[in-house]
């Protein structure tokens, strides 16, 4: 079945946010919203699930910490022990203060980089990927809401969207997913 979607364009983030709330109250289904910048509170208004990026970041941080400990233990204690600063103890725990900067940096490094990579993968972003946003104006100063018409009356939905402050409404045949 070729379902149709409506593209409603807005020019103000506050109006968009109000519109999203009203559209959801009317129980129309919002497929996606494209904005030129992050709109504070939009995720809550759209009813998106809470992000789990924080917990992945914590796990990546722990991995980084572990890697740094194992790495420093191998480099400085096991493989090539040296007498630095008159501390030839060759024991990890006794030399630990010297490794703390490395432990800290690798924790941050792993948490940050793996978090960004996770975010890209989760958002299906990769180099040379074709842009998904349906209207180039959403990269400048317009906000675009995609509403699935489903079994609703297209005329009625369009009228309702105009009431919420949409400046332009177009009916689009839904394309297959990439």
């Amino acid at each position: 079945m070729a379902s149709k979607v409506i593209h409603a364009l807005y020019t103000d983030d506050d109006i968009l946010l109000q519109a999203v709330k009203r559209v959801r109250e009317e129980r129309y289904y919002i497929e996606e919203v494209f904005t030129p910048f992050p709109v504070h509170g939009l995720d809550k208004a759209m009813g998106l699930a809470e992000t789990r990026i924080a917990i992945t970041s914590f796990i990546y941080g722990l991995i980084g910490l572990t890697v740094s400990i194992v790495m420093m233990n191998y480099i400085m204690i096991e493989d090539w022990p040296q007498d630095i600063g008159g501390k030839p103890s060759f024991s990890y725990i006794e030399n630990m203060p010297a490794f703390v900067p490395v432990m800290f940096e690798l924790t941050v490094f792993f948490a940050a980089h793996l978090m960004v990579i996770t975010f890209y993968m989760r958002s299906r972003l990769w180099p040379f990927k074709k842009a998904e946003n349906p209207d180039v104006r959403t990269t400048d100063d317009h906000f675009l809401m995609v509403i699935d018409t489903g079994n609703n009356d297209v005329e009625k939905v369009s009228k309702f969207l105009t009431d919420t402050g949409a400046i332009e409404i177009s009916l689009i045949d839904k394309q297959d997913d990439h």
Partner: protein, 446 residues
């Protein structure tokens, strides 16, 4: 308007009375001559009291101890050793008093700095908390005066806390002779008076502007407050640094650290913000501060979390460089602490870093009041231990113990702090309604 609940008032007075009794008891139970020390040590052999550790000490290592002012003449001699312990034990109630007094003083000073930062940065989230901060800074005046008195007693060598104040020690100490142009009784006292005068003056003036702004029709008083806050912050960061050398670092006058001022500041500001959060939640639980919401608590908790890490960063930076370089005159500071103060020295890192970082890491937990209270209490206790480890090794040495003098000093100043702060909160409406950012602050959400 806030009215002081009679129960809270009674609680504060009870704390002060119990604390005062304990402080007196602490002074009375101090031995006055070496014969009594001998007796105490003999009886404490059985119960493993920490005095025993002193007794077994190798005297050559005790030689560098500054506590008693006889560093040069300590030999393996029973009487000299007893005298050494006697001076340590006599220092103990004074040191306890000094630490507790400074803890609550630094809380109000930290809040004052935080308040100035909020005004100077024109922060939009915090104006609903301004009256809480103004209430806490009211402790600056009584706390500062008591601090000045205690400092005077030490700086003029009445209670022998500062080894640099003892003319006999200076006579045998080349380094202290060189430093005596800066480290002398009147020098420290005059600087302390200038610093306290400046801080209290800013506190009073900004308070006046804040109250005037309540009924103002334009932002005139806010602008004045902005200017004076920016000026105060410049004055503060210099004076705070010098204050930390004079009041704390000079306990070990041979040792110095260039980031000590920042280190003390980090402890100060984290305690201050924690106290803002605790007082706010107390007032909220009594039904006041209707405009303070979860997001304000969330922001305070973020600051507690962040400044705890900042404190650890400075603590570790100071430690690691000295530990790695291993220069004898520098490293003794940490050798003393790790050998004689192992539990408090490492315990405070757990309390000030590991506990808050784990408890306050999750975003949602920063909005759960009892989580923030729990973390806050541990942070405040942790910074008490931090001060303990800054002061005690130099004054009491191996004769340290956490007992009646320490506990009652904390109770006394806690009672005084609660009494002064919550009385000051009754003096003005709890909402700084004239602040130009008050609407933004009321609507603040995360």
């Amino acid at each position: 308007m806030y009215t002081l609940p009679s129960k809270l008032k009674l609680f504060a007075i009870v704390l002060m009375v119990i604390g005062a009794l304990g402080i007196v008891a602490g002074f009375l139970s101090t031995p006055s001559n070496t014969a009594e020390v001998k007796e105490m040590m003999a009886s404490s052999h059985d119960d493993g009291h920490s005095v025993e550790a002193t007794h077994n000490d190798d005297h050559d290592t005790v030689k560098v101890d500054h506590a008693d002012g006889h560093g040069e003449s300590v030999h393996d001699d029973e009487e000299a050793h007893l005298e050494h312990v006697l001076h340590q034990l006599q220092n103990r109630p004074w040191s306890s008093l000094y630490i507790a007094c400074f803890l609550f003083f630094m809380i109000s000073l930290g809040v004052l700095a935080f308040y100035a930062i909020q005004i100077a940065s024109q922060a939009g989230w915090s104006p609903v908390l301004f009256r809480v901060m103004e209430g806490i800074t009211s402790y600056l005046i009584p706390g500062g005066i008591i601090m000045l008195i205690l400092l005077g007693l030490s700086a003029f060598n009445f209670n022998h806390l500062f080894v640099w104040a003892d003319p006999e020690v200076i006579a045998h100490d080349k380094l202290l002779q060189g430093k005596s142009g800066w480290l002398n009784g009147w020098g420290v006292m005059i600087r302390a008076m200038i610093f306290l005068g400046g801080w209290i003056a800013y506190r009073q003036i900004s308070l006046k502007y804040s109250r005037m702004q309540d009924d103002a029709t334009d932002g005139k008083w806010f602008k004045k407050s902005f200017k004076i806050s920016a000026g105060f912050l410049v004055f503060f960061i210099y004076t705070e640094s010098v204050m930390s050398w004079d009041w704390l670092m000079s306990f070990d006058p041979h040792w110095f650290s260039t980031l000590y001022g920042w280190y003390v500041f980090a402890g100060m500001i984290v305690c201050g913000i924690t106290t803002i959060a605790l007082v706010t939640m107390v007032l909220k639980s009594q039904g006041y501060l209707e405009y303070v919401n979860d997001s304000h608590i969330h922001d305070l908790a973020k600051f507690m979390f962040g400044f705890s890490i900042f404190w650890t960063y400075l603590w570790f930076s100071q430690f690691m460089l000295i530990w790695y370089a291993n220069i004898p005159e520098e490293v003794t500071y940490f050798v003393t602490r790790i050998e004689d103060f192992k539990l408090p020295f490492f315990g405070m890192v757990v309390m000030n870093f590991i506990f808050p970082i784990l408890v306050l890491m999750n975003s949602d937990y920063k909005r759960v009041n009892w989580f923030v209270v729990l973390a806050g209490i541990v942070i405040l206790l942790g910074h008490y231990v931090d001060l303990f480890v800054m002061v005690m090794p130099a004054t009491v040495g191996t004769s340290w113990y956490f007992g009646i003098p320490e506990l009652s000093s904390v109770l006394f100043f806690l009672g005084l702090f609660i009494y002064v702060v919550f009385t000051a909160l009754t003096k003005a409406p709890l909402l700084a309604k004239g602040n130009p950012f008050i609407k933004e602050s009321k609507n603040f959400h995360y």
